[in-house]
């Protein structure tokens, strides 16, 4: 691990670093199950912040602080005690709506997924909502979702493997492009219209110090819940 060049990093490490940046100033970040990259981002933010934010990894043992049953996460969020939360989505549209449920007209979906989980609630009560998809797929980033699992319209960020957007005043605005992607390519791979403020900035790259934290303590903490994801950290 020590031998890795600190100027080389994987796309995943860039995403994790970007997520950590979005969590700046948060007091408590909760991360749902099956979310290794957001979990790593939250853990990195905690390292960078010297122990703050508090990180609650659902499904984790050491970092899951809840003792009042599975409703406690939701109550905690409703109390305003969860500053940031992540959602993925089979579809995300230009209004910031998220669809986790299925494709096609409801209820006779052409394709059904697991369900809505707590997304309809969490999206409406947490302060800082971060939509995250590792791939940047035009079939996912659509003009209008088939089913609104969680309503958009509130300020949030959308981070994909290609770019970072913020949702503001009713539309997504490109905040930065990841290295190697072009604006034309981004437009062609995004199903919804978004605003751009010229000149187009590039997503900040992880510093050597950040990468060291990521490959050291963050990797170790992540491995307790996501051993396979932790093993992939390092330059690609």
């Amino acid at each position: 691990m020590r031998g890795w060049p600190v100027t080389t990093f994987s796309r995943r490490e860039l995403l994790i670093t970007t997520i950590a940046g979005l969590l700046d100033g948060c007091g408590h970040v909760a991360v749902g199950a099956a979310s290794p990259v957001p979990a790593a981002g939250a853990l990195l933010a905690r390292e960078l912040g010297g122990g703050r934010p508090r990180v609650s990894l659902l499904g984790g043992l050491r970092d899951n602080p809840f003792t009042d049953g599975s409703r406690e996460l939701f109550d905690c969020a409703a109390q305003g005690r969860v500053d940031a939360f992540f959602l993925g989505g089979a579809q995300i549209d230009g209004e910031g709506n998220v669809n986790l449920l299925g494709l096609g007209p409801y209820p006779a979906l052409t394709r059904r997924f697991a369900g809505c989980f707590g997304a309809p609630f969490m999206a409406t009560v947490v302060q800082r909502l971060i939509l995250f998809r590792e791939d940047h797929d035009p079939r996912c980033l659509v003009e209008r979702v088939d089913f609104v699992t969680a309503a958009g319209g509130r300020p949030c960020h959308l981070l994909t493997g290609m770019a970072l957007f913020r949702f503001d005043a009713g539309r997504f605005v490109l905040e930065s492009l990841h290295p190697g992607a072009s604006l034309d390519e981004l437009r062609s791979r995004t199903g919804f219209a978004f605003a751009v403020t010229e000149p187009c900035t590039t997503t900040s790259l992880p510093s050597p110090g950040t990468l060291a934290l990521l490959r050291g303590p963050v990797r170790a903490a992540l491995a307790e819940v996501y051993p396979r994801a932790a093993a992939t950290l390092g330059p690609s």
Binding site: A33, A34, G59, F66, T67, D68, G69, S70, R71, E72, F74, A78, L101, Y106, P107, A108, L109, R112, F113, A114, G115, C116, F117, G118, A119, P120, F121, M122, A123, T124, V125, F147, V148, T149, A150, A151, G152, G153
Partner: protein, 283 residues
């Protein structure tokens, strides 16, 4: 565990599990735990052996393998849940087949709405308000939910979800005692299920000789027997889901299930093997 021990251990639990299963009538609204927390798989197996029919499953707040097995075996008429999947092992094949075929009614919900509905039943009130959620298409489609203007200032719209009162709550814990007390630990959703349900059935790894309420530390995580209709000691009764720190989920079985159950025929063969006994699943 040796084969002989395993065989011995299996016979008794099957009978014990069946005593609980027979208390679940066809058509019951049956509250079940998610795969990560106290699933009474041995009792579910007896329900399928019977076979039960027309069950209405309620996920608290989501469902996994046990629900997919019941659905694939034709025991289920309706499902209300926030999600139904095999977690890391992917979507739930029998559920998706039944959804496509239209053989089950699906009442899509969201975790906090199910918790709120159960809490309403727990508190004996007809509904509970729930913050957020408005704007989700769930609210449009759930005709049994209501949106009212908050009677308190500033009078914003707020969602009300009706009480969910299960006919039966079924789950598996590490320890019960002779008084019907059941230790659930931090899995308080199991306690809420029991408070809300008319009948609560609990299978357990082991019976404690001591009354669980007699020790202040244990009492803090114990569902009182007051709410428990019947218990049964069923060692390994949660497998292949996990049971606390006693044993983890059996990922090999999950993976095999996910693979086999991808087709109706494969599901049927898996089910036959499962009903015949654990060992066959290794084949």
């Amino acid at each position: 565990m040796s084969g002989a021990q395993r065989g011995t251990a299996r016979a008794a639990p099957t009978v014990a599990a069946a005593t609980l299963a027979q208390r679940i009538p066809d058509g019951a609204l049956l509250a079940l735990a998610p795969d990560y927390s106290g699933c009474a798989l041995a009792v579910v197996r007896e329900l399928i052996r019977r076979p039960a029919r027309g069950l209405r499953l309620l996920g608290v707040p989501q469902l996994g393998l046990q629900a997919d097995l019941l659905i694939g075996a034709g025991c289920v008429a309706e499902v209300e849940t926030a999600a139904l999947s095999l977690g890391e092992h992917g979507l739930a094949p029998a559920f998706l087949r039944a959804a496509t075929a239209g053989t089950i009614v699906i009442r899509d919900s969201t975790c906090p709405a199910i918790h709120a509905g159960l809490t309403a039943a727990e508190r004996g009130v007809p509904f509970l308000p729930l913050c957020g959620v408005l704007g989700s298409d769930l609210v449009r489609w759930r005709k049994d939910w209501r949106v009212i203007d908050d009677p308190f200032p500033p009078g914003r719209p707020i969602l009300l979800v009706p009480a969910l009162r299960p006919d039966v709550a079924l789950f598996h814990v590490e320890r019960i005692d002779a008084a019907g007390n059941a230790w659930v630990g931090v899995r308080r959703e199991l306690m809420t299920m029991a408070h809300a349900a008319r009948t609560t059935l609990v299978s357990a790894e082991a019976a404690s000789a001591e009354n669980l309420l007699a020790d202040a530390t244990l009492a803090a995580g114990t569902l009182p027997g007051l709410y428990v209709t019947a218990t049964a000691v069923v060692p390994h009764g949660a497998a292949p889901t996990g049971c606390g720190k006693l044993y983890p989920r059996d990922d090999a079985v999950y993976a095999r299930y996910a693979e086999r159950a991808a087709t109706a025929g494969g599901f049927a063969r898996f089910l036959d093997a499962w009903l015949a006994g654990d060992d066959v699943l290794a084949a």
